[in-house]
């Protein structure tokens, strides 16, 4: 079940340190979000990180083969978890997103992302395709993606659901579906979008309109994005300095410790700081993918690619949210937003990435 203890030394240290650096920047940022206090966010987040570290190490030490064997169990467990969430979930902010397990409020949808990717990896591995994949062989992954998407969407948590569906589609695309299908679906989507617009409920249409022009509702739904843009814009080239952000310290920025942490960071460290963060995440994204080029097993390649894509994708969506490029959909900034489930799932993902990156196929891991 576990690797040899010695193999711990073979991990990709660069990736690991990159991870620590990003987490540490997140900690400093949470410290400044509380106007220079460890309490409550930075301290709690650090406590969680230390608490999750054994889980991180546990997954790091697992044999990939063991993971391969339990993907279906993981998927079924998370789907059951999602269903339980729907019926017995803990309601917050108008949605049932959390279930209570051992003193923690867990957001099952975060783990559903991992479970789905692992399932896909195993499915396409077993498919052992010679060339591109047809529609027929993509049906099962598509259906499973849609089931998870719907279970999350009706919580309702459209943001996470869209990310789950995206990950599913990316996995299918990566696995080699015939390019005709994705191109065809894009065309169909383009044509039918006016009809989809009429299917949206008025409040959803309203939300899109406000996204396109936040000034329509400057004190209501547009308030977040206006204040966030002010925070980021006022940072300028070099930022207002550590703890120098007035938008954050005077509470103009709502949800500053969760969805809008980037605005706090950017107000303090400016364009320069934003570019540094972007660079760090780009490295975090590209290192596993670079490694995946040297692997031949579909299971390994797909996990490395889609999971590292997941972190970068969430990063991009979150930043785009804060600068008004996409609507505010409630996607956390990996390792920087305050929140347990997001931190735990991203730590699990990184453990998986490090685990698989340390595979040397010369040693024939799967034998």
């Amino acid at each position: 079940m576990f690797k040899e203890f010695r193999s711990l030394m073979d991990i990709n240290w660069i990736f690991f340190f990159l991870l620590l650096v990003i987490f540490w920047i997140g900690e400093i940022n949470l410290y400044s979000a509380a106007n220079g206090n460890f309490e409550p966010w930075a301290y709690n987040q650090l406590k969680r990180f230390l608490l999750f570290l054994p889980i991180f190490l546990f997954i790091l030490m697992l044999q990939p083969r063991f993971i391969f064997n339990v993907t279906e169990i993981i998927l079924i467990t998370t789907v059951i978890g999602l269903i339980i969430t729907l019926f017995f979930g803990y309601t917050g902010m108008g949605a049932k997103r959390w279930i209570r397990i051992g003193g923690f409020n867990l957001q099952m949808s975060e783990f559903a992302k991992i479970a789905l990717v692992l399932f896909m990896a195993k499915y396409f591995h077993k498919l052992n395709a010679e060339k591109t994949i047809g529609l027929l062989r993509s049906i099962l992954p598509l259906i499973i993606s849609l089931i998870v998407f719907i279970l999350v969407a009706i919580q309702p948590d459209l943001g996470t659901a869209v990310i789950i569906l995206t990950l599913g589609l990316i996995a299918i695309f990566y696995a080699g579906i015939n390019l005709i299908y994705p191109i065809l679906s894009l065309i169909i989507l383009g044509i039918s979008s006016p009809f989809l617009w009429t299917l949206l409920k008025p409040y959803q249409q309203n939300r899109v309109m406000i996204f396109l022009n936040p000034d329509l509702d400057p004190l209501g739904k547009g308030y977040h994005i206006i204040q966030s843009k002010i925070a980021i814009g006022s940072g300028g080239m070099r930022g207002n300095g550590f703890l120098g952000g007035s938008q954050s310290s005077l509470d103009f920025l709502p949800e500053k410790e969760t969805d809008f942490v980037f605005a706090i960071f950017s107000e303090q460290f400016g364009f320069t700081g934003s570019m540094v963060i972007l660079g760090l995440f780009l490295f975090l994204f590209l290192i596993p993918i670079f490694k995946s080029f040297f692997l031949t097993q579909v299971f390994n390649k797909l996990i490395l690619f889609v999971l590292s894509f997941k972190i970068f994708f969430e990063f991009l969506i979150n930043i785009s949210m804060t600068i008004g490029l996409v609507p505010v959909v409630g996607v956390a900034l990996p390792f920087m937003s305050y929140g347990g489930s997001s931190l735990l799932s991203n730590m699990i993902i990184c453990a998986l990435l490090i685990n698989i990156m340390s595979i040397s196929e010369k040693k024939r891991m799967f034998s």
Partner: protein, 590 residues
Amino acid sequence: MEDNKTSKESIKILNRRSFIIIFISVFFSLFVILRLFSLQIINSKFYKKKSIENKVSVKAIPPLRGDIFDNNNNLIAGSTSSYEFVIFKNLNKKFIDELNSLNSILSLDLNLPKMINEINKKNPYVPYKISKAGWDQIVKFEKNKFLFTAIKIQESKKRYYPHKNMSQILGYTGSSSLSSELYPKGVFHIEKTFENILKGKPGKIFNEVNSQGRIIREISIQEPIKGNNLHLTINLKMQDFAQSLLPLTNKGSIVVLNCQDGSILSMNSNPTFNSQAFEDRDNLVIERILSDNSKPLINRAFSGFYPPGSVFKPIPALLGLQKNLINENTEVICKGHSTLKDRNYYCWKKGGHGRVNLKKAIKESCDVYFYELAKKTNIDELSQLATSLGLNQKYDIGLSNPQQGLVPNKKWKKAYLDQGWYLGETLITCIGQGFNLTSPLQLATLYSALINGGKYPKPRIHNDENVSYLGDAFEKKYHDLILESLNAAVLEPSGTAFKLNNLHPNFVKIGGKTGTSQVIRIKEEDREDDLYKSKEVEDRFKDHSVFVGYVPFDKPKYVASVIIENGGSGSAVAAPIAHKALNFAYNLNV
């Protein structure tokens, strides 16, 4: 678990696909970078400004209004503190309980449901005014202070007028309905005219506020600058004394003017009002003042216009002398009336004055002399001379709504009545009736002009205003003759105001001219019956009593002009009042 031999083709596909997605991701990242560049580099200034606007709130501190003093440095308008109960609802969640206890302890009779509704709508960090706080209420409040955490006493400044008799000169201040006006400004008379001197400059507090508007800290403060003080030429003692001279039964007014420098010592009008009522927002009293038919807001010394009556006569006399229509010795026989085109123009003295020269005509106020003079007088020249002697012009001394009054001429009549001029009208104009309209201030100025020989100091009420001169000097011999005649009217027996000497023998000697301005034209038959002099005549149709005098008679310094509406003859009513006022002014000698 099978270790697949993945085909090379398949690996190629997978790697190619990852490049496509990396490419799309990087492409999207470029969008993010561009957007960040636009926000943080290109539009950074805009957002920095927005950020400062977010966090800095500016609050104005009203400046203290300048004080107003009389010519003896007595305060006549200042600022005082007033107190009110205010509530900060953020200081106590149970603020409604506090309101209830305040209401019952001080028995305030507040409309609580309405008030609570208003408070709930307001920003919690801005105090809400509950009511005015009097001293008794403040004492009670302090005794029960342990009950209140959200309710506080707040001080604010308001205008304070210690002397009621100054109201018709000072006016009052008021709050504007414009939201841009943060504090009261002058809306009437001196307070309005000298607003720019008095108002001062508001200060500013720059506060850093959080998203709820709560003040985090004070960034900086610009202290307000108090308005400049204003010094008036008005003398408080003179003003109070003159007011006491006006009979309460009649409307009337009195002006005392220093004819050497044009400064106005007092300017009273009856009925009057109290400016303080407007500052105290005493709505009951204000309503009463505004709805009063006797119009107490009007300062009749400045804004009351009447036919001047006989006090006008020196003007046609001077014109006659200047145009050689008459000289010192020209005589007219007065038989009680003069005839023009089958119409009789009567003298006030039924039996007539007999032989009358100019001095006697002024001293005894013979109307026939002036009717005869008028027959040769050009009305336009008369109007022009009257204007240069101070009538027929606006005095913008600082009171609201200055008016011009009227000394008629042909052009005016054509323009306003679309009629030609009749000689008969010149006759009644020359005795100060007809279209003539003058204010008491104008009459005082006219006599100041006569005393000064034509070139006279412009009347003024603002002490810092330089003395400036109006009018054109006329010949000294005419000047002497006219003053001699005016002195005779008071000092010589048979002068119209000679009675004054018996009334107050130890008062300082004055010169002056009586006037009786008719309110209605007397019918011929009534004149025969002497009915018009009887008590039967309704008060509102009685003549206005006018007197303009100066003191001392030989070297005049002060001029007083008195009008008592429907008071009767000038010698009986207005002259004694003017005599007392002039005597007072002379002894005051400011």
